[in-house]
Amino acid sequence: MSVPIILFFVCALLAVVGAVLLILAREPIHSALALVLVMMSLAVLYLLLGAPFVAAVQIIVYAGAIMVLFVFVIMLLNAGVEERTDFSKIAKWAGVPLGFFLLLLIAHFLAHSSIGTAIATGTGAATQAADTRELSTQLFRQYLFPFEATSILILIAILGALVLARKDE
């Protein structure tokens, strides 16, 4: 096996373990840290796909900014250990098999779609947009309108958060 393949399996395993830990951990900080683990593994996966820019942005935005704020808020509120409620019967007997079925479906369609083969053979759009210069040219020429629309959407969300937070005054 080549090094990228081994790295892929290690990081994929780490991501899955982190995701499971996120749900199972009872201490909110542990959940948050597990989520950071998932994001870091995803960043390495992006690197393996030949997208270093996306990997770095993934770490800066998700692990470095959003999750730091999560941890900060958990610390500030000093959130206690979660109480565990009874597992619902339906979720246990219908949810888990259905979840696996969904996973199988996604895997099946990915394996047979053009995107899947393009990524596997390294000829897809992901490898073309790997170069940062190329990526920014695409983003600010061809996809300028969606980019600006997203920015305005985020700005509206920030203003909304401010308005909600200031309601009492």
Binding site: E27, I29, H30, L33, V36, A43, P52, F53, A56, V57, I59, I60, A63, G64, A65, V68, L69, V71, F72, M75, L76, N78, T132
Partner: protein, 403 residues
């Protein structure tokens, strides 16, 4: 030998990592020595003086002391996170230094550039991604100790680092616009040449506002005076690392100094031309500057050894003298002199910035917490944003007029 020729990248990288770790660890130790000496000078004291000549063995003694101290873990702490925090802080701080180019990429062994461990196209972005998760070390240390003062220290520190990281990043974007690249080597090479034949084309000249914002935000990011609120001892005992003892405390200590070095390296690369010399290439005598400097240092040490040192200190300082003089003699040999030009200028610039850091610590009082926050959000951020907008406008203006 076959293994080395088959895997040059792996072998050279491992050697580079080992050498860099050794150099950085030594530099960290002697940075604490330098800091104590300079602060002592500012406060009219002697500073460390008894362990070795001029206290030169003090860092070693401190390291041994940390190793042999009792290592206590608070019984109510969150064991795993409590252990994780110092490791995270130190390993992230050291990883960041691997991206710094200490010399020109043209000096190569086995086809690998020897002055940088990892030369990647998006070096700057990657450095920011590493420093952005550096907050976790402090925040988790504060939380996992399960104690009042560390928690308050951790909270303060997270809030401070989040706030100042914004200004730090934005103040650097101006340089990125001028350089047009995220690669450290491109950014440095873009600063070659002169304005009016004598001012080096360093980004600090057009980006002086950006540099001041960067410097302020960087001092806050590394939790140093006047922004060392997370460990304000009069209010918070020792802040986030109150409950840490022995080597775990030493790891936080080392991480802080490693971060100082990283931040100074970044300032050197972005604003002061990295490993470029301030003098034109035609002045060939500058090749002998490092050697001459070391020889002068050796001469001073020799004088000091003979006149002021007694007993065992005399022998120790004689060794220092020989090291300096020998290093100076080797550096005068032309092929060596040519190779060490880049690292020499880089180190000189870093040392000047680090000296400024220490000087600040000896001079300024600490901010109050609310002052810190309003300074960061209401002054630093708008100024760095304005700097960015003006820089962008100046760059785009000729294009708009002619294009």
């Amino acid at each position: 030998m076959g293994f080395i020729t088959q895997h040059p990248v792996l072998v050279v990288s491992l050697v580079k990592i080992a050498v860099l770790l050794f150099i950085v660890m030594t530099a960290l130790a002697y940075l604490t020595w330098l800091e104590r000496k300079v602060i002592a000078r500012i406060q009219s004291r002697w500073g460390p003086y008894n362990v070795g000549a001029h206290g030169l063995l003090q860092p070693l003694a401190d390291g041994l002391k940390f190793l042999f101290k009792e290592d206590m873990t608070p019984p109510t702490s969150d064991r795993l996170v409590y252990l994780l925090a110092p490791f995270l802080a130190l390993s992230l701080a050291l990883t960041a230094i691997a991206l710094i180019p200490f010399g020109p990429p043209s000096v190569r062994v086995l086809g690998q550039s020897i002055f940088v461990v990892s030369d990647i196209d998006i070096g700057l972005l990657f450095l920011f991604s590493i420093t952005s998760i550096g907050v976790y070390g402090v925040a988790l240390a504060g939380w996992s100790s399960n104690s009042k003062y560390p928690l308050l220290g951790g909270l303060r520190s997270s809030a401070q680092m989040i706030s100042y990281e914004v200004s730090l990043t934005i103040s650097v974007v101006g340089v990125l616009l001028l350089a047009g690249s995220l690669s450290f080597n491109d950014i440095i090479e873009g600063q070659r040449g002169y304005w009016l034949h004598f001012i080096p084309r360093w980004h600090v000249v057009p980006q002086i506002v950006g540099f001041l914002c960067y410097l302020t935000a960087a001092i806050a990011e590394t939790n140093r005076i006047p922004f060392d609120l997370p460990e304000a001892e009069t209010e918070l005992v020792a802040g986030f690392h109150t409950e840490y003892s022995s080597f775990k405390f030493a790891m936080f200590f080392m991480a802080e100094y490693a971060n100082m070095i990283t931040v100074s390296c970044l300032a050197t690369i972005l604003f002061f031309g990295g490993w470029l010399s301030p003098f034109p290439d035609s002045w060939t005598w500058q090749l002998f500057l490092p050697g001459a400097g070391l020889l002068l240092l050796g001469a001073y040490c020799a004088y000091d050894t003979v006149m002021n040192m007694r007993g065992i200190a005399q022998i120790q300082f004689a060794v220092v003298t020989l090291l300096a003089a020998g290093g100076g003699a080797i550096s005068l040999y032309p092929p060596v002199a040519a190779v060490i030009q880049g690292p020499f200028w880089f180190t000189t610039k870093i040392l000047l910035i680090l000296f400024f850091y220490i000087w600040m610590r000896g001079t300024l009082p600490r901010f109050r917490y609310d002052q810190l926050m309003s300074f960061g959000w209401k002054l630093l951020l708008p100024v760095s944003l304005a700097n960015l907008v003006i820089t962008a406008f100046v760059i785009i203006w000729p294009l708009l007029r002619h294009g």
